[in-house]
Symmetry: C2
Subunit: 348 residues, 2 copies
C-alpha cells in the first residue's frame, strides 16, 4: 500500500538532527521547545511538505478533532441553518464534522453514535432530547461531551441548547384565541416522527383546552414536511365532512404555504373565513404577498451557542447545562387582527 504521508515527524527530526519528540512538541504548539527550534521545525515541516497523520494522533492520544453531528434531515431549512451556525465555529476551532441524517429514526441514530465512538470522536451533537435509552446511558457513562439541540430538557445527557416547543405552541394558541379563532386544526406528520412538533401541538391543545375548547382537529400526513405535504393534507382536510376548522396551524412554514396555496385556489377568504399559521419564520416568508403568521426561531444563533458550549466542554470547561432561547410570535396577514386586550368593545 502506498502511504499518503511520505514525510513524518521522524523525517523532520532526522533532517534537523532532533528527536521526534522535539518535532512533535514544536508542531503541536505545546511547551517544551525553545523558540528557535520551534521556528526551525515549523519551517522544515513546511518545506518538506509534512502533514500530520490524524489517525495516528488520535490513536496515540485517545483524542480527536472529529465531532459527530446528527440531524433528522437536510431538507428543512431549519437543520441546515443550525448546522451552518455550528460549522462556522467548529471550523474556526479546527474540528471536522462527521454528519449523519437519521430521518427521524432513533435506532439509526444510536448505531451511528457508536460508530462515532469507534472514531474516538471528541463530541457528539444530537437533535432533540428523545433518544434510545441505551444511548443516553452509554454516553453518560462514557462522559463524552454531548450536545442536544433544538429542544430542551431539565436533564440533558450533558448539555443542551434549544427552544421550548410546548411554549411555542401555547404562545401561538394564545394568539389564535385572541384573534377569535375557535375551531383550530393542526396539520403535521405522523405522531412520534417529529417529537418537537408533537410538543408544540400539545402546547396548543392545552392552551385551547384551558379556554374551554377541547376539539382540535389533528391531521397527519405520512410525507416529508414540504410545501406539497401541506397542500395535500389541506385538500383532504377541507374535503372532509363535518364542521370546517376556522384556523389551520401547520408543522412549519413550508407546509403552511402549501396549505395557503390550496385555500387560495379554493377561493377561501384568508384570514376571515380561515386563518393560517406556520412555524419557524422561514426565508420564504420574507417575500410572500401575504406573510404567514408564525413563530420566529433563532436557528443560526442556536447553532453558534451550541458549538461554543460543546467546544468548551471538550476543553473541560464548565458550561451552562441548559440554554433555552426565547422564540417570538410574528403576526402576519394570514390571521385576523387580534381583538384588543380591552375586550370586544375596544375600538382597536
Amino acid at each position: 500500500m502506498t502511504r499518503r504521508t511520505p514525510v513524518g515527524i521522524r523525517d523532520i527530526g532526522d533532517a534537523l538532527g532532533l528527536s521526534m519528540m522535539s518535532v512533535s512538541r514544536a508542531l503541536r504548539g505545546v511547551e517544551g521547545v525553545s523558540a528557535g527550534t520551534r521556528i526551525e521545525v515549523i519551517q522544515a515541516a513546511k518545506r518538506m511538505g509534512y502533514r500530520p497523520n490524524r489517525n495516528a494522533r488520535s490513536l496515540a492520544s485517545a483524542h480527536s478533532t472529529l465531532i459527530g453531528v446528527s440531524i433528522p434531515s437536510l431538507f428543512s431549512d431549519v437543520f441546515p441553518e443550525i448546522l451552518d451556525g455550528m460549522r462556522a465555529t467548529f471550523d474556526h476551532a479546527g474540528f471536522d464534522t462527521l454528519i449523519d441524517t437519521t430521518h427521524y429514526n432513533t435506532a439509526r441514530e444510536a448505531d451511528w453514535a457508536e460508530r462515532m465512538l469507534d472514531w474516538n470522536a471528541a463530541a457528539l451533537v444530537l437533535c432533540g432530547v428523545d433518544h434510545e435509552p441505551d444511548l443516553r446511558r452509554r454516553l453518560r457513562d462514557l462522559r463524552i461531551p454531548t450536545l442536544e439541540f433544538w429542544d430542551t430538557t431539565d436533564d440533558p445527557i450533558d448539555v443542551c441548547v434549544g427552544i421550548d416547543h410546548w411554549k411555542a405552541g401555547a404562545d401561538l394558541a394564545e394568539h389564535l384565541l385572541a384573534c377569535g379563532y375557535t375551531r383550530p386544526a393542526f396539520i403535521g406528520v405522523p405522531e412520534g416522527r417529529d417529537t418537537r412538533a408533537d410538543k408544540r401541538l400539545a402546547g396548543l391543545v392545552a392552551t385551547y383546552a384551558s379556554a374551554g375548547i377541547d376539539a382540535v382537529d389533528v391531521r397527519r400526513i405520512d410525507h416529508r414536511a414540504t410545501f406539497e405535504a401541506g397542500a395535500l393534507a389541506t385538500e383532504s382536510l377541507l374535503a372532509a365532512e363535518g364542521p370546517r376548522p376556522d384556523v389551520l396551524a401547520y408543522l412549519n412554514d413550508h407546509m403552511a404555504f402549501g396549505g395557503l396555496s390550496t385555500c387560495m385556489r379554493l377561493g377561501l377568504s384568508i384570514p376571515d373565513a380561515i386563518g393560517i399559521a406556520g412555524f419557524n419564520d422561514l426565508e420564504i416568508n420574507k417575500i410572500l404577498p401575504m406573510p404567514i403568521t408564525t413563530i420566529i426561531t433563532p436557528r443560526t444563533r442556536m447553532g453558534e451557542i451550541g458549538a461554543r458550549n460543546i467546544i468548551a466542554r471538550i476543553k473541560g470547561a464548565v458550561v451552562e447545562r441548559c440554554v433555552t432561547i426565547p422564540t417570538e410570535l410574528r403576526i402576519g396577514h394570514t390571521t385576523r387582527a387580534p381583538l384588543s386586550s380591552g375586550g370586544p368593545f375596544s375600538s382597536n
Copy 2:
C-alpha cells in the same frame, strides 16, 4: 486518559485462546479462518461488547471508511438532495461522511481536502469541476478516488457525474425564443461565485446571439440565491431606466419565485408582459398556482450514481469516467405558449 475501548481484539483472543490475527480475520470477514472459529469469535465479540478502534484500523491498513464530501452550501435544496442521494449509498456500504461547506471559496475547499487526506479518507467528493490547480494536481498524483459532481468535463480529476449546464442554458434560451421573447435578462449572483450558473448564462447568451439577439441584461446580486434575493434583484431591475426585458431567467427557482412575487405585486401580466424562468424544478414548484418554467435536474439520482461510482473506484473497479445526466425542460405557466415549430403562420 480513560480509554473508550475497554475490550480489544487481544481480549477476545485471550478469552478464546486464539491469536489476535485469527480474531481480526474472523471479525473482518476475510479468508483464513474456519467457519467454526469465525462464529465463535463473532459471538464472543458481541458478548464482550467489542468495538473496533477505527483509527487503529486506519493507521495499520492505510485505509479508512471516511469519505469527505464538500458542497458549496447547505441552503439550496439542490445540494442537500444530492448529498442525501449519496449518503444513503454510503451508509449502506459502511462509509462515514465528513462534510465541508465551501461557501463557494475554492481556497477553503483545498485546505479542507488536505485535512481529509490527513484522515486517510477513502475518497473525496467535490462540487463542480473548477478547483485550485494545486489541488487538482495533488489529488491526481495521490491517485485518491475523487468524484466531481453537478458539473461535467471531459477531463475530470478522476470520475465525475453531472449535467451540462451550458446546454441547459441553451435549451432554456431555445424555448424562450420559441415563445417569442426577444429581450432576455438573467438574474444571478456575482460572476465567478457559482460557476455552474455562469455556464448556464453562457449557454443562454450564445443561443440568443445565434438568433441575432446580442443584448442580454445581466443582473447580479451579492446575496445568497434565495427568494428574497430574487425579489430584490427584480425590483432593482424593473426600476431601472431603458427598455424593460420581456423575460427574466433566474439562477434557480427560488430566485424566480421571488421575482415572480415582485412582478405580481407590481401588477405585471405574466407571461404576456413579462416571462419568468427558473432552474432545478425545486419542490415549491409543485404547489405554485402558476408553475414556473424551469429545467428539471436529476439531483437524487445524481447523488446515487455518483456514490455508486466512487465506491466502485475505492474498490479498484473501473468505472465510466464521466456520466452526464440529461436535463429536461419543464414548461410552466410563467412563459407564453411557444409559437409552433411550423412558423408564425401555423395555426398551432
